[in-house]
Symmetry: C2
Subunit: 341 residues, 2 copies
């Protein structure tokens, strides 16, 4: 009776067993909630566990179970700013809520730059986690392929460019963009411009495709003067909007591929003396917090983020349980009509 848990000297199953007067096996059963234990023995073990402040060693455990009971949310993005994306925060929130009453733990892994990506890949390949939810924004990102090859349960957040045989969940970006653009058409707009997202991101590509599809559906051909690329930031949106006003002064509406950019675009329009929605109707994308508080409040496309996250969790846990089926889920978006269009 000397050492009281100095650092590094935690009690083992054996010690608990000895104190409780049973075998290791029985302690293990109690700890893991097996029903096949006499109540009496169970109580003795529980008491010993409490007395010794016993905590099972996960390394030893997972050495035999081949499970770690943790999954990783990895964010593959050189731009750390993406952390600031409320999108990301909501996913984290929903994810840990979904895991709250599971045995599963959640860890976040940031993979900016090549070296960190390699480190993350190694971490995953070593079997530190039972599964991965991967948010990869850029289409040329190699991490998705690397992880897919690592044979670890994997769900992608966002459609991969090459989407065969990998499980993913995404919003219907193209459909949402089409709805948004059709809403502008329905409002009688004809010179509909777009501030698109970066064309190396799937979301940017798909939203742009939806915009084009809507115009095409209305018999309107593409006009390069009505397209400016942004970078999903507010400043970028402002710049792109300025370029559009230059290129096509006669535009009467603009579909902006993200709310952050839309807020920038609104500022540019205000500064240029164009009224919204009077002179120019504006629709954004994301239904970000800023959309509701902007001036005027932004009509935008909402993604069912919580539903998407639940699906991701669901698909991942199912894979962890051994389900081999590869599924993808594309979730419908919803147009939120406010004052800007």
């Amino acid at each position: 009776m000397t050492t009281l848990a100095g650092r590094g000297s935690s009690p083992t199953l054996d010690e608990v067993a000895q104190l409780a007067g049973v075998s290791r096996a029985t302690v293990s059963r109690v700890v893991n909630g097996s029903p096949k234990v006499r109540p009496e023995a169970r109580r003795a073990v529980e008491e010993a566990v409490a007395r010794l402040r016993y905590v099972p060693n996960p390394a030893a455990r997972s050495l035999v179970t081949r499970r770690t009971d943790t999954i990783a949310l990895v964010l593959s993005e050189s731009n750390t700013q993406v952390f600031s994306d409320p999108f990301f925060a909501r996913v984290v929130r929903e994810l840990s809520a979904a895991l709250a009453d599971t045995e599963m733990n959640l860890v976040l892994l940031a993979a900016r730059g090549e070296r960190e990506q390699e480190k993350v890949a190694r971490y995953v390949r070593q079997g530190h986690v039972d599964g991965v939810i991967l948010m990869s924004l850029h289409s040329q990102d190699t991490l998705p392929a690397v992880l897919a090859e690592a044979q670890v349960p994997l769900v992608l957040s966002g459609r991969p460019l090459d989407g065969r045989s990998v499980c993913y969940v995404d919003a219907d970006n193209a459909g949402g963009a089409r709805d948004a653009t059709e809403h502008l058409l329905a409002g009688g707009r004809r010179r509909i411009a777009t501030v698109s997202g970066p064309q190396d991101m799937i979301a940017g590509i798909d939203r742009h495709a939806g915009y084009r599809a809507a115009l095409e559906g209305a018999g309107i051909g593409p006009d390069p003067a009505l397209v400016a690329a942004g970078d999903f930031t507010e400043a970028g949106g402002a710049r792109a909007m300025a370029a559009l006003l230059e290129q096509a002064p006669d535009l009467d509406a603009v579909f902006v591929a993200s709310d952050a950019m839309a807020v920038g675009a609104l500022r540019t329009l205000r500064e240029a003396g164009r009224s919204v929605p009077g002179d120019v109707a504006v629709v954004g994308f994301d239904d970000a917090a800023a959309a509701a508080t902007s001036d005027p409040p932004l009509t935008t496309v909402a993604q069912p983020l919580d539903e998407m996250t639940r699906h991701m969790t669901d698909l991942l846990l199912r894979q962890v349980e051994g389900d081999e089926e590869v599924q993808a889920r594309v979730c419908p978006t919803r147009l939120v009509v406010r004052a800007s269009a």
Copy 2:
């Protein structure tokens, strides 16, 4: 020669040893970079490792080494929005940069709400990580104490209320606030108000204390009408500023305890027709990105975030190596003078 790494069947040390024609011990030595291996043998092992795509099993390894080679950055905050804090993003960036050429991995753990805190505590106590950097914003948060008691190497980001015997790194919040306020005094202001941060956060408390200290130093007594509490958000800052204008219409300066709130305050002042810095001088805190782009650009207090993060990493790794010494570091801030004061 049948199975090629189906899920769950990774090659073991033994197999590598067999293929290389050496013993497990030698393979282990090669893998861990021991110098005591003949170059010839080393080459054989390396080849076998490559052929088999051997990856060491970290569970087995840490079962014997008692190390996990990963540290956790835990964010204890019910408000997930804090993720969006660029502060946080910078810490993550700097931290993983510091760890990049180490063996150490970095995982982020989010602990909102009580249940998640418990999960995180359990995770840490189980020995999943070698050390923890803990960002805990609220003074009544129990996680710091829980982790401190868990005997795991720990560094706090931000001064704890009760700071004995726990390692922490913080900016000199009080000193920075004092500098800011003295800058206002030096500019001839006398009716200096403050939008303080929440008084249940150390940063809020310390910054408020610095503000009071500066006034006191100038022989100016406290005036409750000149104080309004914000919540570190832009909207909160706007509200608090409105309250101040109500309570003390004659104010000629305001020290705002965060840039986010300062941006809101600027908006309120603009809407109230007060010119900045003509009628009212404004100083913020944090040197956030928004500070440089606000209208007018914000004079603010910059924290040496990168330096602070390096210190945290440093102190933590040293503890992991076995250093028992408990240290705290308070880093000096820097006043960044722009147009608002």
